[in-house]
Symmetry: C2
Subunit: 303 residues, 2 copies
């Protein structure tokens, strides 16, 4: 079975290149040690047995980021990888700050409903460690958070915001933030765009869902358009700017999710048809969690 | 502007019918008081001004559930509407149990990190009421939860599970449950399918994202197939069964989300092409939250 580990690089023009290593066999579609595929082949199932049907392969292996003309592979310096608006929406959340894939359940020391001390056990009938109140018995479940945002198309350009807050201060991002209770994902994406870019937008279609299990986040990105050709930096942005696709600052992006989203978008624009993309961003073992380019994009599925 | 309020009904064959009321004008595509559209036209933007561009309309108004041949509209009896596996994954979660769109922040009385009492205020720079610890100052953010599941295709049939737990005991659902920290949505959907139907599946493509703002949930459903033609009820199911599309028990489904998902699937099968669907399930004002058919499907977007 092919074991693909993809190191993400970028040519000077901003196009992507995926470097693929094979553990047991030589990958197809390689060129000089590089392969233009974006999907690892770990079985996408609950069991540990290997599996890779032709159907799944056909649906997952057709993303190439193949616009890279020259294999000028290089790595970027490490940068902070965290939530897009940790300072405003969930900075104190244990989910937002967790650094391991199992969550930080042990940091939950008290019941938020009755104030009783918690114990940390696997409840009967479950498989995961939970914080259970020793007084009222309630369980403090933790679940991943959704980050919702807009990829705004305007005159063949896309709107980016330069962050005026940590993490990733001074780096560029699509307007995005945590989805709130009481709103839909699209409403949240529109709200975040208003807050970060003072831009009124209309959502056109869903574009991407990118899970990041390590930090308990799922990015939901919509294609959108400006209702009025007006925008300006909100409180969390120092600058908002429309970028032509060739001018997107790929070496100054704030988050892996934005890096992937913008490249998928460019790929779709070149193909002439927007799709919906699903994928999982997994940090490569042994790399710094702050390096936004040291990841694999697993299980890239399209609709 | 058309204000569509859709009452969901079902003919004896299980096909859907949407009843649409107009507030200021007569809807197009109506027939005897019924309209085969599935999208309300409330502006999909952050501002309160009306907007409905041709682009958005074109992308949103093409879902019809039009397979309904006879307008035998009828309402179903009210049933419980809640999380698909509240008993096992998040039954004690304030999000899972909340009944208002603003969340139940006032039920958070203590800080889960230091045990201090909380106050309920809108933090500086924010717009929503939060529970803030009066001792350590941390904010207990609440965010919507993702419910992940599989729509499993096998021999032109789909796999459903009859629930052996509350809510919706004895009613049919796709295998689904809360996404856990540390897993991707697809991994979670596969896990839930294993837990509820003892079925090993392979995810084929993303199929639907359905937000339910009222209860702070987002359903993420994948198309999947059985890796082996074997399944049996897990601990939370009393029965698992493959249903031909004409035999799906639409009058005995557990959740609005499943009702919508299965109908969108049938629509796509008839059209010969699976799509990705995004939409918001909103309860109709004045109806019981336990009535899974009393809702509008807003902002149906497809990719």
């Amino acid at each position: 079975m092919l074991k693909a580990i993809q190191n993400l690089g970028c040519s000077s023009s901003g196009w992507l290149l995926w470097k693929t290593r094979t553990s047991t066999s030589t990958s197809t579609s390689t060129s000089g040690g590089f392969s233009f595929i974006s999907v690892s082949t770990r079985p996408f199932s609950y069991s540990s047995s290997s599996s890779s049907s032709s159907t799944r392969a056909a649906r997952t292996n057709n993303c190439s980021f193949s616009a890279c003309k020259t294999p000028s592979f290089r790595r970027f310096r490490a940068r902070s990888e965290s939530s897009p608006d940790a300072a405003s929406a969930s900075s104190s959340s244990p989910v937002a700050l967790q650094s391991s894939s199992s969550g930080n359940v042990r940091k939950i020391s008290f019941c938020q409903w009755c104030g009783g001390p918690t114990k940390h056990e696997i409840p009967s009938g479950e498989e995961k460690m939970r914080a259970i109140c020793t007084v009222c018995g309630k369980i403090a479940y933790q679940n991943p958070k959704m980050v919702v945002g807009c990829l705004i198309e305007h005159d063949n350009k896309v709107l980016l915001c330069k962050r005026k807050i940590q993490p990733s201060y001074g780096l560029w991002t699509l307007p995005a933030g945590y989805m709130e209770i009481g709103e839909s994902a699209a409403e949240g994406a529109i709200r975040e765009t208003w807050e970060e870019a003072n831009a009124e937008v209309e959502v056109l279609s869903p574009f991407a869902q990118l899970d990041i299990p390590l930090i308990g986040q799922t990015y939901i990105i919509f294609l959108a358009k400006l209702k009025k050709p007006q925008f300006s930096p909100g409180p969390e942005s120092s600058e908002c700017q429309l970028f032509a696709l060739n001018d997107i600052p790929f070496n100054s992006l704030a988050f892996s999710s934005m890096f992937v989203t913008l490249n998928l978008y460019i790929e779709d624009v070149k193909a002439g048809k927007p799709k919906f993309h699903y994928g999982t961003i997994k940090k490569r073992p042994g790399t710094s969690p702050s390096d936004i380019h040291a990841f694999t994009l697993d299980y890239h599925l399209q609709s």
